[in-house]
Amino acid sequence: MEDRPKLLPPSMREKERYIVFEVISEGNFSYDELSRSIWFTALTFLGELGVSSCGIKLIRNLWDERSKRGVIRCFHNKIEEVRAALTMIRKIGNANVLIHVLGVTGTIKSARRKFLGHYYLSNFGGENEG
């Protein structure tokens, strides 16, 4: 027997959304500093209890260093709380920053297509190019 529970039926799984954000900043910072800052602010603003029910997860490999865009996953009924927590971020390291939420999507794929400038083959040839 494999040592993990079976995949839950769809109605029992958590419904997730992906918040795509852009960091507007005047100085440089590393991804680790950003992630620490987001977690710290979320914990102070929402508290441990609040964060535990939000299902926040930073998706590391979707962070784009050049355009300073990234993705946070959260549960679908806690989007406003997470967005509110993101507004409370004002500094990362010594740099003034603010986080601007670009949009919320239901899948990573559409987050990439709409906000991160990734192209899929299926986009070409149809009407909805880009």
């Binding site: 507007i24 005047e26 603003f45 989007i79 406003e80 709380e81 967005r83 509110a84 993101l86 507004t87 409370m88 004002r90 003034n96 920053v97 603010l98 986080i99 601007h100 939420v101």
Partner: protein, 225 residues
Amino acid sequence: MPWYDLHVEVQKKEEILEMAKRLNYSGVAVVDKEDDEVLDGIELISSVLIKANSREELKAKLQRVRNRVTLVLVSGGKYEVNRAACEDSRVDILCHPYLGRADPGIDHICARAARENNVALEINFSTILNSPNRPKILSQIRKMVEICKKYDAPVVITSGAKNPWEMRAARDLAALAATLGVDITYAIRSLSNYAKNLLEVNRQKLRGDRVGDALIVREGGENGG
């Protein structure tokens, strides 16, 4: 969707414009600005923030200012001023009535008057961000929103930014308001359509095209107006 930030205290125009453009605003009300301007597709709206200590002082300042600027804000905090501002239809927005106190700063009388005179009560983002005691200020605002909801008084959320790094995108401010008890659709509308209508009505009044809130003056009149 056109987004408006109705209270910004930054003085350097370039800084406001740059940030407003990045955050997709179509209009920003700049405190202590003389006349309306459109720069780079962003409206800079003339407004005045009145600081008063008593009802008489507020009335005198309102008299002086109302016919010059599009938007009149009153800096709240003292109950006497909050109450006087709610009871005067020349005021557009009463800013942070909860500031520097232990209670929400308004009561059912103020809320009812605000509804009647169409005075919006402001949730000021900057005061939340800079507050040394955030839980306290959040609970004050939550109570204020509850009172406003009960008596149907208008609520608006603004950044109240003192430097450009305190500005936030309109939709994010709406999300914050939603966590404080404002209906999310109402919060979004108060930042876009309601704000737009308010500015339009105020400009018509300034030009003399409109008397009061209901009567519109039209030229000609051959077709019955």
